[in-house]
Symmetry: C3
Subunit: 369 residues, 3 copies
């Protein structure tokens, strides 16, 4: 039942668990954050400059002018191109240098190549600006779809914030059950516990835990989204390279899917872009009775933000201690299966060892929840 | 008379003189600082968590939960055990993991070992919480006794503060005579100087300097503790691993012993826990005339604190310059005998080269004091 | 015409372009900054202490007491010598230790050598305190003369400030033409541009660019110093190890020479000590009509300070990005000839590869200016 391979005990020095996975799409900012001025955002420790061309299409370049190292994000948009603030060199969305002021001659192809700014593929989707993390690379796939965010039966809530921890620690925290009673106290889970069976399913690029026999979430949050209580279907998922998802199904009518896209700003700084899609019995009523939105915005949102603040604080404490000790120690049990599996997936992907032909695998264990 | 072996000139790069001696008891905090909540204190650059079990006995563990690196000092006490703030793992005074919430099975011995928090032997003595600096080690000796602090003939004053310097620099400063005229000006020594003979006695684990022919301390301090003047016996001592002591005997009745326990918080941060025990002619009078305490608290204390502040400032300047140069230079004379001997003792001890069978040795030199 | 050797494209990691040239005189501070108290100033990352002896002559020592590492700049002057604040050791202008308080015996020559503070040759000239950067070395040449600062036909303005960048980046910025339109906008150059020929002349220890066919400087600054407009002679120069110079000649009467002595405080911190010498038609009129001074102080000075602030800001942005990327990328064109040549000179000098017998060389290129 409880298989030893599902987690590992490890002791590291030098912060080995921070995994920088380049083969993937990440959210850099929300659509509204990118206006008519260039902005700087970090990915994997490197500053990128984001801007919109004259058609409003996003462009993402390494935020350093190839001429004299100045951040391009200090510049301005001229005719859809990005003009450096120091000597006025201009770059288009692909990073090509289109003008060097004062220079009186045409450039050779070799010079054009040297003068280009490294470029990241980008697109705008589901309300976010996404970039593909490998430099000057055209990916063979699109950014993931954020479940139910475009479905009119669902009310959708968005939030984002940046936390001082590795992407692995953030994913593990988002999908972890036991910590909720200690970190979130009465806000989330509390009260009597029962034995729950956990079915862990692994695919080559994702892992899912299903909790069977769980009672309806306790605490304020539980009472609000499922006032009647009853048995619940609950899934936690991690999908490479950066998606964590929590799904609750309560009876036929209530469905909550929280999807978080995590962005590794640096080894120990991670942004989370979260969407919560909620359908309740209210959603099916005609206006003005379909007040899922109202529940979501006025009740779930403040609760959710309080929970995020508590998680941010404990993750910060964890990160500070890792820096203090200049090493990390992990001693895991089956309760940590999902976090350990997510880290294994990130490492396998970073090492180019994902196998799409892998047979899905299933394990089970039991826990008090 | 003046022997060359007593001091050395040395130039280092990389801060070699910071000595981390693990084989010894150090004060972590005063008894009053440790209440019903766990607290964090540093020793040799590592954070430790201190707490009291249900009997009030102190426990000291490495301040990192073996599960997910969170500081245990963020947790709380439950039934005398220390509960981690993240997932609620509980540890007793010996560092044993006593509970993992949600886990539905018993642990194996191997698991128990992995899940234990590294432990430091600790005890409460003379008003302080002491810890033995070697991890998971049972020492063969007790913490040192702080002289006269429990003797009812003596009035006792305590103070502690943290200084930004190596333990060696702090010890040297505490036992150094020549600096007092420059750093402490009129507060301490001043006025005419005379030739004094210094007898240095060395044992395998300590060194002592006796000043023969010294006149009564000048300045405000001297006039207060020895209004009659006269010849004085004055000893300065360093005792491994962390005790500096200054003793003045003036005639039959006045006796002042200042004992400092130094704690190396990190290579260049040192706490000092100081006790001053004073017996004067007043001490032998019946109440309400035995006002040693009053002299100590109202006159000596503010003077002593001013002196400590001046020393802290000059030691900080010294430390900042060592960091600025990323190296240390030492050019010593016989006046630095005690500081050099203390450093030699610390280094010998750290290298396991103390020899308890060593014959005591004596040297002499003369100085203007 | 355009020769490829005049500049290079390079990519570094580890900040290779910060060149620490020890064989040269640098300004440490202005004469007024050094009064009766010792002061600390940095050169090449090392703190130096500056003081005046009893004749007012400057002395410059490494700012660390050889006894216990304390900054000598915390001390005070006693009889023309510098007394350390910790134990009172005294040093003269040559760094010799003249007294050790409390020590009752004379010192040997070997001891004198160990106890000396490393010394830098220094002098006071043209209103500045200069030091030769190689430790304990007597240079075979004097500090450079700052052009026209002692000529009564010229009005002279001085300013100094510290910028967060390498000396190379500061020199390049001071001598660069194309950035003025982008960084300084309307304050400096603007308006229509014309084709200008640039003649670059190189000697073994300096490089000069002459701009032929340039119209009178545009913008406020141009209109003030050359209200009549007309053709201008304009030279930009770099002279090893630290002098940048901009010279404008407008007709027979107007002559402006801005000379900057740069001081590398650290790899990425550079002070500039600037003098502007101006002779205009007004200078030749009798008092009170010879108001060059007034133009210089009331009009040019605020404009110049605004320009310096803009340069300081863009250089800071450049430096921050170099630190962010932990590397530097340079992709140059012929417009960067002077900056690239200055860096080559600094590197050749640092590697001991200057050849005084080198034949002067001339190159030409054209630019829009």
């Amino acid at each position: 039942m409880y298989e030893n391979e599902t987690f590992s005990n490890e002791s590291t020095s030098g912060y080995q668990t921070a995994v920088a996975l380049k083969d993937g799409w990440y959210v850099l900012c929300s659509s509204e954050e990118l206006g008519s001025q260039p902005i700087r955002r970090f990915l994997h420790g490197e500053p990128l400059v984001l801007f919109r061309d004259s058609h409003g299409q996003p462009g993402v370049l390494l935020d350093r002018c190839p001429h004299r190292n100045v951040p391009l994000s200090r510049g301005r948009i001229r005719g859809g191109d990005l003009e450096c603030a120091y000597h006025g060199w201009r770059f288009d969305k692909q990073g090509r240098c289109r003008e060097i002021p004062c220079l009186q001659r045409d450039s050779s192809d070799a010079e054009d190549k040297l003068r280009a700014a490294p470029c990241f593929q980008s697109c705008e989707k589901d309300g976010y600006i996404w970039a593909y993390a490998a430099i000057d690379t055209k990916p063979d796939h699109e950014p993931p779809k954020l479940a139910y965010t475009q479905d009119s039966d669902y009310s959708v809530l968005r939030t984002h914030r940046t936390m001082e921890c590795s992407i692995h620690a953030a994913v593990e925290n988002a999908l972890d059950v036991p910590h909720t009673r200690f970190v979130h106290g009465g806000l989330f889970r509390s009260g009597s516990r029962r034995m729950v069976e956990v079915i862990v399913r692994r695919w080559y690029d994702r892992v899912e835990a299903e909790y069977v026999g769980e009672s309806c979430p306790k605490g304020l949050l539980g009472r609000l989204i499922a006032p009647g209580g009853g048995v619940v279907r609950h899934f936690d998922r991690f999908i490479l390279p950066c998606i964590a998802q929590v799904e609750y199904i309560l009876g036929a009518s209530t469905h909550l899917v929280a999807t978080v896209a995590f962005t590794p700003r640096a080894d120990f700084r991670t942004s989370m872009f979260g969407t919560v899609a909620l359908r309740t019995r209210l959603s099916q009523l005609p206006w003005p009775l379909n007040q899922s939105n109202c529940v979501l915005g006025n009740v779930l949102k403040p609760l959710g933000l309080a929970i995020l603040n508590q998680d941010r604080d404990i993750l910060y404490a964890q990160r500070e201690n890792i820096h203090q000790f200049k090493s990390e120690e992990y001693c895991s049990t089956e309760l940590d299966t999902l976090g350990c599996a997510a880290l294994q997936l990130l490492r396998s992907a970073a090492n180019g060892k994902l196998n799409p032909d892998m047979e899905p695998r299933t394990q089970r264990f039991r826990m008090h929840a």
